[in-house]
């Protein structure tokens, strides 16, 4: 087989043309697409990093707000409990005072009532004693004693007339 120099030359030229065309029409656009994709990826990564950073910041803010909220809530709750304790103490104190006063009043009233009842009982007893005495004296005195009493009283009366 003979090696034809022209043919080799022709093949070299042909290959060079194909290579040039391919480089211009395929390689460069593909490289450009890859570069653009790389830029997009990089931008995406940057955006993602920024988003993560913002998210972290927001999380920190949220946590801080939650802590502040929690502290404030605890303070409000504590204040409310203190106030409630104070109010309860006041109410109990007032109630005790009022109960004591009421007890004292009732005791005084009861004592007065007791004294009054004793007085009434004594008065009734006195009335009964007098009534019984009157009946007993009336039944015990005979005519002779009656006359004697009348004589004695007349003697006393005429001295005073």
């Amino acid at each position: 087989m003979d090696i034809q120099l022209t043919q080799i030359l022709f093949q070299i030229i042909n290959f060079s043309v194909v290579l040039g065309v391919l480089t211009f029409l395929l390689y460069k656009p593909v490289i450009k697409i890859f570069d653009e994709r790389a830029v997009r990826i990089e931008e995406g990564q940057k955006a993602a990093e920024l988003a993560i950073k913002i998210k972290d910041e927001l999380d920190r803010e949220k946590k801080k707000a939650e802590n502040e909220h929690k502290t404030e809530r605890a303070k409000i709750l504590n204040d409310a409990q203190e106030e409630a304790k104070k109010r309860a103490q006041e109410i109990i104190s007032t109630a005790r005072k009022e109960t004591k006063e009421e007890q004292s009043k009732l005791l005084d009233s009861w004592k007065e009532e007791k004294i009054q009842l004793i007085k009434e009982a004594k008065s009734e007893m006195t009335d009964a004693i007098i009534a019984i005495s009157a009946k007993v004296i009336g039944k015990t005195l005979d005519i002779k004693t009656q006359q004697k009493l009348i004589d004695e009283e007349i003697n006393l009366i005429i001295k005073n007339i």
Partner: protein, 79 residues
């Protein structure tokens, strides 16, 4: 016209004439106006014993019931 002084003697039993006489005499001695004494007797068992003499508007009460009533008043006051 002779004036009359009414004297009332109240007792649980009737007075004896002597007792009535003593009362009349005592009132007459006291009475210097020469008025006539008119004694009326009232028997009231509720006085129990003793005597109550009323001379005009004046009253001398020496009945047992009055004494008991006074005692009752004193006892009530001391309760």
């Amino acid at each position: 016209m002779i004036n009359t002084l009414k004297v009332t003697a109240t007792s649980a039993i009737e007075l004896t004439p002597k007792q009535a006489e003593i009362i009349v005499n005592a009132v007459e001695k006291k009475n210097t106006h020469g008025t006539k004494i008119e004694l009326s007797q009232v028997v009231d068992p509720s006085v129990i014993a003793g005597i109550k003499i009323t001379i005009g508007s004046e009253q001398i009460d020496a009945t047992v019931i009055t004494k008991l009533e006074k005692l009752q008043t004193q006892l009530r006051e001391n309760i």
